[in-house]
């Protein structure tokens, strides 16, 4: 462990790795070059492609050479830029954590991506992509030493404390089966179609080869084969769900150390994420109807200005309601409330989406039927869609209790949001053209790291919406400290 300030570089293989990563982007110019030199000998376009690759590689080598990081006594310098130099200094005081992430390629090459976690909102503030794994571990220990704290757990280390949550293999399997989704079926079908186009022969050719005529195949289709196809579909969807769950969440462990939640997971890409408790803004549990039947759900938290682009972090892919309550208690002051405590929104909400979306579609389809009879399909789709929208709208409700706002929405996939009043950054009341006549309004709550369309209470009676906004307002507190701190959530509003 050297201590003298020496400029270090990323792993020398990085220019090549970056080039390989860039190949999909380079494909277009390559195809362009190939198309332009159409009809000529193969040598010239090949030469052009090689030239292009060499040029990009040279650029990457230059970029690699000009990217250095230096460990200084009080801070870390990251210098980058080929022509215009950019020096960034990250004081050790501000480094809250060091994350190490390893993708499949990185594991193969013995590399690791290091991310210095600071309070900043910029996601790539202190990223070293990538250095050798041994260097990464050493760097983390060095940084920990400089920060004057004991080194944190690493991907290889076993934590001293037992994790607060672990996904066992049985649980992963259960979660995978419940993860069954038609989206996956669509992906599979799309993949098959795509492959069919790539492969020079088609199903028809195969049929011909086997010596069967189409008619004969259709003759064989009976109730049994329909059931078989259905079973096959279900099996494919379930397998896809299980595979996805294992790839994403294999070895899922969640630790709590020094007021920071640390999550390690992944089969191919092993990732480690730190979630400082004080950055947690809101919590969410989600469960589709089947999970709800078994009393299971998934738990996420919303964090402000996190290291990853996604500001909603998964705390547990599948937990029982007791485990969810425990996790939420650890994550903050989050307590789940009984389903019957939710206050419904205006009764018109139940029909609102069906009226504004499915009904116009049905009317269009009905008119189209007269011109073009096959349009009855559109009518059928509209009926199914409208029914789904009515069912989906029914559970929408909210509750304000002990400075916590609860919002429930959706039936097929139900979400419960828990938003502390102190996390609210701004409030909006929205009245659309239809809502105006019905005297309804939508209340939107913005908070740091909120995913789009996350927290809103739709179709409240306007007066009720205004009263709610008035209650949610955090009145000015003289000498109040940084309001984002979870610590001071418990504040009584001063009378206005």
């Amino acid at each position: 462990m050297s201590t003298e300030p020496r400029a270090r570089r990323l792993h020398p293989i990085i220019p090549l790795v970056t080039l390989i990563r860039q190949i999909p982007e380079l494909l277009l110019p390559i195809v362009g070059v190939a198309a332009v030199s159409d009809g000529e000998t193969l040598a010239r376009p090949l030469l052009a492609v090689v030239g292009l690759l060499a040029l990009v590689l040279a650029y990457q080598v230059l970029a690699w050479w000009r990217f250095t990081y230096t460990l200084m006594p009080d801070e870390m310098y990251i210098e980058s830029g080929i022509l215009s130099r950019n020096r960034r200094s990250i004081p050790w005081d501000r480094v809250q954590d060091v994350e190490i992430e390893r993708g499949p390629l990185a594991r193969l090459l013995g590399l690791a991506k290091v991310r210095l976690e600071t309070g900043g909102s910029e996601s790539d503030e202190g990223v070293l992509d990538s250095i050798s794994f041994a260097d990464a571990v050493a760097l983390r220990e060095e940084i920990s030493a400089r920060r004057g704290v004991a080194p944190a757990s690493s991907l290889q280390m076993t934590a001293r404390e037992p994790p607060v949550f672990t996904m066992t293999t049985a649980r992963l399997f259960q979660a995978g089966l419940l993860n069954f989704s038609l989206v996956w079926l669509a992906v599979i079908m799309g993949g098959i179609q795509f492959l069919e186009r790539l492969i020079p022969w088609t199903m028809k050719d195969i049929e011909t080869w086997i010596g069967l005529h189409e008619q004969e195949i259709w003759g064989m289709v009976g109730p049994a084969s329909v059931v078989l196809a259905l079973v096959l579909f279900l099996a494919l969807g379930s397998i896809a769900g299980v595979v996805q769950m294992f790839v994403r969440n294999y070895g899922f462990n969640l630790w709590l150390e020094r007021r920071t939640l640390r999550r390690v997971r992944g089969l191919l890409t092993r990732s480690e994420v730190a979630i400082p408790l004080r950055r947690i803004q809101a919590a969410r549990t989600s469960a589709h109807w089947l999970k709800r039947r078994f009393g299971l759900c998934r738990v996420d938290v919303q964090t402000m200005g996190g290291s990853s682009s996604d500001d909603v972090q998964e705390l547990a892919p599948l937990v029982t309601s007791e485990e969810a309550a425990q996790l939420l208690a650890i994550a903050g002051n989050f307590r789940l409330i009984a389903p019957d405590r939710f206050q419904p929104v205006a009764s018109a909400h139940r029909w609102y989406d069906a009226q504004t979306q499915a009904l116009p579609l049905a009317l269009i389809a009905l008119v189209a039927c007269f011109v073009w009879p096959p349009a009855w399909w559109g009518l059928a789709i509209a009926v199914v869609m409208g029914t789904a929208q009515i069912i989906g709208a029914t559970p929408h409700g909210w509750r304000l209790e002990d400075d916590m706002l609860y919002v429930r929405s959706g039936w097929f996939g139900q979400e419960h949001w828990l938003l502390p009043r102190s996390s609210i950054q701004s409030l909006s009341l929205k009245i659309g053209p239809l809502q105006k006549n019905l005297n309804l309004a939508t209340v939107c709550m913005d908070s740091a790291g909120a995913p789009s369309g996350a927290l809103r209470i739709r179709n409240l009676p306007t007066a009720e919406a205004r009263a709610l906004i008035e209650k949610l307002r955090i009145h000015h507190r003289p000498r109040a400290r940084a309001a984002t701190e979870i610590a001071d959530t418990v504040t009584q509003p001063t009378a206005n």
Binding site: S428, I431, G432, K436, I469, H476, T484
Partner: protein, 160 residues
């Protein structure tokens, strides 16, 4: 609990002018394109002259004069002791409220058209994500600066 009524302050008349100029510029682009299409179709003998361009021009003229006025009238702001309220929108009317101590930093911006009309825009930045910039256009420079200074006082008092 009935919330207290909000006394909305309208924007400066200069903002209406600025909005009209903005709409007029886009209208000019549209009408140029449509006129070209109209003449082209006329020369092909498919339509008579002005059958597309004339209604479009009328519609755009209506937008410049009346549509802009409607939009302008729906804008408004209100400053209370510790909050700023901003309302806007004809089709979807939105009323946003932000507490001063939630403001991270404040910008005053002025584009070329706004400068011509003597108005500027106040932007309050919060730590939020979906609606992190609360924009209030159509303020006179003096009003914008007074608002900024007052909100800044609150931020400072808060951070201490």
């Amino acid at each position: 609990m009935t919330p207290p009524a909000i006394n909305w302050t309208p924007l400066e008349p200069g903002q209406l002018k600025a909005m009209r100029i903005g709409v007029a510029i886009s209208a000019l682009v549209v009408i140029t394109f449509v006129t070209g299409l109209d003449i082209g179709l006329y020369q092909d003998g498919k339509t008579s002259l002005g059958v597309i361009a004339a209604p479009t021009a009328l519609f755009l003229l209506y937008q410049i004069i009346q549509g802009t006025r409607r939009r302008f009238r729906r804008w408004g702001y209100a400053k209370t002791e510790d909050e700023l309220h901003v309302a806007h929108g004809v089709f979807i009317h939105t009323e946003t409220s932000v507490a001063f101590h939630r403001v991270q930093h404040i910008d005053i911006s002025q584009g070329p058209i706004e400068r011509l009309c003597g108005v500027c825009q106040l932007v309050l930045n919060t730590a939020g994500t979906l609606n992190s910039k609360i924009k209030l256009p159509g303020l006179s420079r003096a009003t914008a600066e007074a608002l900024r200074d007052e909100i800044r006082q609150h931020i400072r008092a808060d951070k201490e």
